[in-house]
């Protein structure tokens, strides 16, 4: 829809997409925008695909889900899930930020089917998006000593990419106000490292 921004943050249950979406939405709200979040999960404790739709506009409140073919920005914590969401909601101009580390589905682990070939997967993501930036998100979170920091690393990458047009300070303020005190420093550091991974001024969505 004209004048609205549609973001999907996707991953696998437990990776923290819901919190990332909540923080992004809080930043948009603080900017005075009419923001809506739709968390899409079935039985997330059990290894399923999850996605949070974050949408904002200056007009009427938007419904919680991004319509098909209307995705502006895709933030994926897992490459296979990036492809899943882009196939469903994407358009040729979608800008994607994708964490490089795959999470194996249980069926792959059990040997019932293979995980897609990495080269084929990335090449398809490149062709299906306006821009697709590979982010060493898990690696960065691991280096910080906490894989759970992946979500704020990716949020930093989103901010650093310039795709959403919100200042880093607004995210940092939100991290301080929304997270329990004992997690603030870790997440601020994760966000800061993520900023650098986003590639400032990365190719924006049309």
């Amino acid at each position: 829809m004209k004048g609205s921004t549609n973001v999907v943050i996707t991953g696998v249950g437990g990776q923290g997409n819901v919190l990332a979406a909540r923080l992004l939405a809080a930043v948009a709200l603080a900017e005075g925008l009419e923001v809506t979040v739709g968390d899409v999960y079935g039985l997330t404790q059990r290894g399923g695909s999850v996605a949070s739709h974050v949408r904002w506009t200056e007009g009427h409140p938007l419904p919680p889900l991004v319509p098909q073919g209307a995705l502006d920005i895709l933030v994926a914590f897992e490459p296979l899930e990036a492809l899943r969401i882009q196939s469903q909601f994407g358009r040729p101009e979608t800008a994607a930020l994708v964490n490089e580390s795959p999470v194996m589905p249980i069926g792959v682990q059990a040997g019932r089917f293979p995980y897609p070939d990495a080269a084929a997967l990335w090449s398809l993501l490149d062709r299906m998006t306006g821009s697709c930036r590979r982010v060493a998100g898990s690696e960065t979170a691991r280096a910080l000593g906490n894989v759970q920091a992946l979500n704020t690393v990716m949020l930093g990458a989103l901010c650093g990419s310039g795709l959403v047009g919100f200042e880093a300070g607004a995210f940092e303020e939100t991290i301080r106000s929304e997270l329990p005190a004992r997690f603030v420093d870790l997440n601020l550091e994760a966000f800061k490292r993520g900023l650098a991974l986003g590639g400032a001024g990365g190719k924006a969505a049309e």
Binding site: L29, V37, P61, P63, P64, I106, P116, L124
Partner: protein
């Protein structure tokens, strides 16, 4: 929290409903967990002490509603929450309590699950508001959800009958900005007026029913002027969209996306029973095409058609487009699945020729390539989940028995045993406790030559919710029935809520009830086993139960791995590893039993080494794989503190 009306906070739809109930002055909140409704009570639990609200997870929905009604009988306000399946359980009481005159307020919140994301049906609960003849509110945003909860409690008390608030998954689990209001006072000391009994005796019913229908018309008159109903669009257009609840936001987005703002108007309805007749005629009477957006059934569509048929001179000739004629349809057909912007776009787009232009879609060849690459992320029992051991034991016992036995079950994590993760063992699954009731009939079927063994499975919370009547029925009728109660101590599927089987240490002092004691009290044989600790003993017990007559209750007791591991000391976990020398990999003949058959998230087959490997970061140390590896290649070492 001190409300500041200028500050808006982001809230989940369900949190907003909870906040509305609090602002509406409730003294009591009850419910039974079930997606997508569970977060309402979870939120109220957090506020219960600060705001002096009694909150409880009741054993089932009808008890929750009956308990909440006692507050409304006594001049206080209460809210009861449930998912759509739960309303069926509560319906017996709902359709009689609506005949009472309530001095307090009673808000019945039902969260429907269209398309279902986590349910065994996609029932449209709005029909129950009509059956019970109670006011029905359908919010379109979290802000409205909060405000309608306040209003629903207020009209409930003012008119003296229950009010129903109906949410859908996307609203319950959607987040949006909400302005908070003040919390109302709870009212005077509660007191039941013995001169005004709440009695549904037959000779009183017609009188009370007539009163209820008079109230319906008074409420309709109030809804005519309600701010929850409103028109958006230019005057003098011939095409009108009528949309209720969240579907109004889908309609508005579709109109704006297609740039139809000057050609189409939208009548949003937030009060959908009784329908605001005049408000509808005022808008519908000016249109020649009316298109309906709602989920799931054509509830408003048919209501508006009745209004128009009864007022033909004012409504005029109208082309109705909705579910009954098939014009408004998602990918699975009209009246099936969720409403969304895409379905609204498709319907409105077809109304205009040439169709309004949208952006270029992704090329079909790339989408086809993506379909080739996309592998599913199937649901699985968690690592260490006791259900994996239980269903492995059940499968093994029924195979050893060799008479084409099968399981019947119901709703819970263990319902996933109808799929790969539970070895596709459950062959009938419907509603809470349904397998146990089915088992009573399968027992009688033996009188007609039926000779397959049947085992009914149910969870601990389900046993108390709906299993007790079926068990009493089985014992009373001298059935041959085997009930396996999968007692993992919490209501895991819906977010680990406490239930009567939960240890007092976890439920903060609520009294723990033992399933085996209840079963023995009803005259059934009951034994307790831990299939995780000794899977072979569980196999033996099932085999013996299916081969002997009578009613057997086997309680498989082992705490939910995900819930209890979070609370346990990680260092106390047993260490499990594969002895790479002993594991023969694909040379073994076991067909990768541990990684492929057990399919535990902690077990990998390592293609580089050609043997199995345990992911120690993930493994809970339950030891099931240790017991079943035919080569005894998986080893376990307990920490000094023992198994958590």
């Amino acid at each position: 929290m001190t409300p500041n009306p200028l500050k808006r906070v982001l809230m989940l739809g369900n949190e907003a409903i909870a906040r509305g109930a609090l602002e509406g002055g409730i003294s009591y909140a009850t419910g039974y967990p079930g997606n997508p409704s569970s977060e309402i009570l979870e939120t109220l639990f957090k506020w219960s002490d600060a705001h002096d609200v009694a909150v409880e997870w009741s054993v089932n929905e009808i008890v929750a509603l009956e308990a909440a009604a006692a507050f409304a009988f006594s001049g206080r306000r209460a809210v009861v929450t449930m998912k759509q399946n739960g309303l069926n359980v509560a319906a017996d009481f709902l359709t009689t309590v609506s005949l009472d005159e309530l001095p307090g307020g009673l808000l019945v919140v039902v969260c429907d699950d269209p398309g279902p994301l986590t349910s065994s049906n996609e029932q449209d609960s709005r029909h129950f508001a009509r059956i019970a003849q109670i006011p029905l509110l359908e919010p379109s945003t979290p802000q409205e959800a909060k405000d309608m909860a306040v209003y629903g409690l207020e009209i409930s008390q003012r008119f003296g009958l229950p009010c129903m608030l109906r949410a859908v998954s996307r609203l319950s689990h959607g987040r949006g900005p909400v302005s908070l209001g003040p919390v109302a006072s709870k009212g005077p000391q509660p007191r039941f007026d013995r001169d005004r009994p709440k009695v549904g005796l037959p000779f009183l019913v017609t009188r009370n029913h007539a009163r209820l229908l008079r109230l319906r018309e008074e409420i309709r008159a109030e809804f005519e002027a309600s701010p929850w109903n409103g028109y958006t669009g230019p005057e003098g257009v011939s095409t009108l969209v009528v949309a209720s609840g969240l579907s109004a936001t889908y309609g508005l987005e579709a109109i704006q996306t297609l740039d139809l703002g000057d050609r189409v108007g939208l009548l949003k309805l937030g009060t959908t029973w009784p329908l605001p007749r005049e408000r509808i005629l005022e808008r519908v009477g000016r249109a020649d095409t009316v298109c309906f957006l709602e989920e799931v059934d054509p509830f408003v569509e048919e209501g508006v058609k009745v209004v128009c048929a009864e007022n033909g001179d004012r409504a005029g000739r109208i082309r109705f487009l909705g579910k009954n004629d098939g014009f408004v349809a998602g990918p699975d057909g009209p009246g099936v699945g969720e409403m969304n912007t895409d379905t609204a776009l498709s319907a409105l787009g077809r109304l205009f020729d040439p169709a309004p232009v949208q952006g270029e879609p992704l090329p079909e060849d790339l989408l086809a390539r993506a379909r080739d690459l996309l592998v599913p992320r199937e649901l699985s029992f968690c690592q260490g989940c006791p259900h994996r051991a239980s269903f492995y034991a059940l499968k093994t016992a029924l195979e050893l028995d060799g008479r084409d036995g099968f399981l019947v079950g119901d709703i819970g994590c263990y319902g996933m045993a109808a799929g790969t993760t539970g070895f596709q063992q459950i062959k009938a699954l419907h509603c809470m406790g349904s397998g146990m009731g089915n088992a009573c009939g399968f027992s009688r079927l033996k009188e007609f030559g039926f000779d397959q063994p049947v085992v009914a499975v149910a969870g601990d919370s389900t046993f108390f919710h709906a299993g007790l009547p079926a068990l009493a029925n089985a014992v009373h009728h001298n059935a041959d029935a085997v009930f396996v109660i999968l007692d993992n101590a919490v209501t895991a599927m819906t977010g680990f809520q406490v239930n009567p089987a939960t240890p007092a240490a976890v439920s903060h002092g609520k009294r723990e009830l033992r399933i085996e004691n209840a079963a023995r009290g009803l005259g059934a044989e009951a034994v307790v086993l831990d299939p995780v600790a000794d899977v072979n003993a569980a196999v033996e017990a099932v085999l013996q139960a299916v081969e002997t007559g009578g009613v057997h209750v086997l309680v498989f007791r082992h705490g939910c791995a995900t819930f209890f591991q979070k609370r346990a000391d990680r260092s106390a976990r047993p260490r499990v590893w594969v002895d790479a020398e002993t594991c023969l990999g694909d040379q073994c003949g076991c067909n990768r039993f541990c990684s492929r058959i057990l399919s535990c998230p902690a077990i990998l087959f390592d293609p580089e080494t050609g043997v199995a490997r345990i992911d120690e970061q993930v493994c809970t140390g339950c030891g099931l794989c240790v017991q079943v590896c035919p080569r005894e290649a998986i080893l376990l070492e307990r920490s000094e503190d023992g198994n958590p």
